[in-house]
Symmetry: C2
Subunit: 138 residues, 2 copies
């Protein structure tokens, strides 16, 4: 389960804003207004592959991904949800949960590697973080 | 659970070769020698989002993804596993399990949308399907 020596990867820290801490994962909002995009990071150090988690932690992870998917859908309806665990650049285990709309900035391609992020306005960011936090706690 | 009216999407049928049928999912090998790449398709019709599966089916799906990840690793060691559930083009629910090597044809970007597939030689394909089938059954 959670690991007290855990520290968030510097690149994830830079690209995201913290939304909520669930039992296993921190839920982060990607600071990119082009896509409603959450990133779940299990608070475990030195872990890179989901298949190497203990079965109970895997089950918890996927339950939290579903919770994040439903929270995202309640606030930003999507045409298709995209889930991804890549980690080719940032090796710290993290799972992307991205709401996609037909015709969005990367459609129908993947969001990863699709140009520069467009940061949220500060007011948008405050409001969205609060609403996501509430949806995840609800 | 499995659905007798299920038929595999025509594009997935065209791009892959069947490897094994697990309890919930058919496991397909992407016919692209650039990457060791499995696709898991739950045999359920009309399903597009993992978060809409019943909790028991979600749990089964992720157990089968882990089984596929381990089978892939046993035959084709990777530097990083990439998991993805996108479905922007093919809406039938399917999960990609892709072994990535540093410097491979799409590294460090995602495999989705990264140029044309390079089909396996027939002999390679027969051997790989058999070995994957055995690893998934073992």
């Amino acid at each position: 389960m959670s690991d007290t020596s855990f520290t968030l990867d510097a690149r994830l820290q830079n690209d995201t804003k913290h939304v909520a801490s669930l039992s296993l994962c921190d839920v982060l909002l990607m600071n990119d207004a082009r896509f409603p995009w959450l990133v779940l990071v299990p608070r475990m150090s030195g872990m890179t592959e989901i298949c190497d988690l203990l079965p109970g932690d895997q089950a918890m992870l996927w339950r939290e991904v579903t919770l994040a998917s439903e929270a995202l859908r309640s606030l930003a309806p999507f045409d298709k949800l995209n889930l991804g665990a890549l980690g080719n650049i940032v090796r710290q285990l993290h799972i992307h949960v991205v709401g996609r709309r037909e015709g969005d900035a990367a459609w129908p391609g993947p969001v990863w590697g699709s140009g520069a992020a467009m940061p949220y306005e500060e007011e948008q960011l405050v409001s969205l973080r609060q609403r996501l936090h509430d949806a995840l706690s609800g």
